[in-house]
Amino acid sequence: MSTLVYVEHRRDELCNGPLGVLAKAADLDDDVAAVIIGGPEVKALTPEVGRFGATTVYVAEEDSLFPPLPQPRVDVLAKIVGEGGYDTVLFSNSVLAADIAGGLAARLGAGLNWDLVDIITRDGDLIGKRPALSDSVLVDVGWRSTPRLALCRAGSFQSVERGTQPSVQPVSVELESHSRAARIVDQVTQPEGGPSLEAAEVIVTGGMGLGGPEKLSLAEDLASVLGGVVGATRAVVYAGWSPHSAQIGQTGKTVSPRLYVALGVSGAVQHKVGMQNSETIVAINKDPRAPIFEFCDLAVVGDVHSIVPQLVELLRRRKGS
């Protein structure tokens, strides 16, 4: 087995997800290669990638690779897989990584399994574990040929510092014409504000079920008494009640707190992928058929407007006593 892990970064920081995948890969394989792709910022990140377990780090650094577009990255990965003879390529799921993996599968004629929460070897064969159909079944998936491509569910693996001194391999690639066709003409980066959701132990998220922006105070009060941070669903952000920096979900933050409380959150897939790794999930929703009730630990069918103030009051009293 020879494994290559795509390590994504945003601005000048490595993402956590792929570092977890690196740790998983290093458990399965003695030598693990990683690839980091971008503009001038990648140089400083290279030693970091080694620290988290890669024995070889491929570095593709070009101004043309600075914009976070998937197709030029397919070109880079295809070249490394071809020349390095890697039989396994692992990704941590993200908006960018999913597009790269899909494109690479077609370029290499390779099988891609996605949403894996674990990867194991059985009798020398690689097996992926994929929860399917709203997590109602756990499916063992395999590959019939190499290279094997896998997208892992974000947050499935913990990163481990191994202090490896990696061998650094610069890569230079001539981009395909269709990979150069799309270009970013503008970027609107949402300012980061408030306490970090990713680091929070307790998160209270408000959904459209709150009924109005003024009702976000319910989430704030509960978060405050639980010592937590307030999150929001995409719908709430789109309605202008909360800033994008509070958004949890596929196009927001991926979080895994000890306690996640969802108030008036339906549990659409877009939201679910950002919070399903939370240790304990409590959901309060008046719709008994809300999808969130299928993946929470405590399902409370009821009205947030009456329950939450009572809950806050009880918790305050308990704290005071």
Partner: protein, 256 residues
């Protein structure tokens, strides 16, 4: 302007896996994947705004033809269904090859997909189709604007919005935040009955049997096990003591 919308027909309601074949059970009634309806809606809006022919393309069992009529009722002009026993068991790669051929046959300027999610059947199928056709692809679109020879898309990422421009023809995967769906009118439903719906075989598209279906799949399901379910999930209905029950639960889990 010709727009192809790629849609997938899925079992309506709650899907399940057939324990024997380990495939999605498609025995029941089918409907268009709800996420794909946003792509149909976006195509119809472009058609209404500046004029376009909208063709819905799908791969699936023959029973999917009825659900494709639903897209025609919403305003699409034609539907093409690739239905062939040899396509059964296609994985992402095999599906992308079949769809690429069907899209190529139409010669579209814009190809739309619904943003599938990790829970659905296809991670980034559009990216594989785009690679097969050597076209630019943009996903996570929350806004789409047709310019003269290009498309301008707002792509929502984890940290904000990227405004991306690509020359046509191009592939765009749209999210459910891009528009509000309409309901089909009675007039639309009646008109849909008369709109052309073609059913094609793999050989009609000159697809080699080894590229499609189980023969073309490079991944497989090995076994299905019980879920890693959240143990001891508790459900309570609203009553006077509900807040206290929540406190007790949090205490029991040592979360307070």
């Amino acid at each position: 302007m010709k727009i192809v919308v790629c849609v997938k027909c899925v079992p309506d309601g709650r899907a399940r896996l057939d324990p024997e074949s380990k495939r999605l059970d498609r025995g029941g009634a089918l409907e268009i994947n709800p996420f794909d309806l946003y792509a149909v809606e976006e195509a119809v809006r472009i058609k209404e705004g500046s004029g376009a022919e909208v063709v819905v393309v799908s791969m699936g069992p023959e029973a999917a033809a009825e659900s494709l009529r639903g897209a025609l009722a919403l305003g699409a002009d034609r539907a093409v269904l690739v239905s062939d026993p040899g396509a059964v068991g296609s994985d992402l790669l095999a599906t992308s090859k079949v769809l690429a051929k069907a899209v190529q046959r139409e010669g579209a300027d814009l190809i739309l997909f619904g943003q599938q999610t990790s829970d659905g059947g296809g991670a980034a199928l559009w990216a594989a189709v785009a690679e097969g056709l050597r076209l630019p692809a943009i996903s996570q679109a929350t806004k789409l604007e047709i310019r003269e020879e290009s498309v301008r898309v707002t792509r929502q990422t984890e940290v904000g919005d990227d405004i991306i421009e690509a020359p046509l023809p191009a592939i765009v995967a749209v999210t459910d935040a891009i528009n509000e769906l309409r309901y089909a009118s009675l007039k639309g439903v009646m008109a849909a009955k008369k709109k052309p719906l073609e059913v094609l075989s793999l050989s009609d598209l000159a697809i080699s049997p080894v590229d499609a279906g189980d023969a073309g799949a490079k991944t497989e399901v090995r076994s299905i096990a019980d879920p890693p379910a959240r143990p001891n999930a508790i459900r309570i209905e609203d009553h006077d003591e509900v807040a206290q029950v929540i406190v007790d639960f949090l205490e029991h889990r040592a979360l307070l």
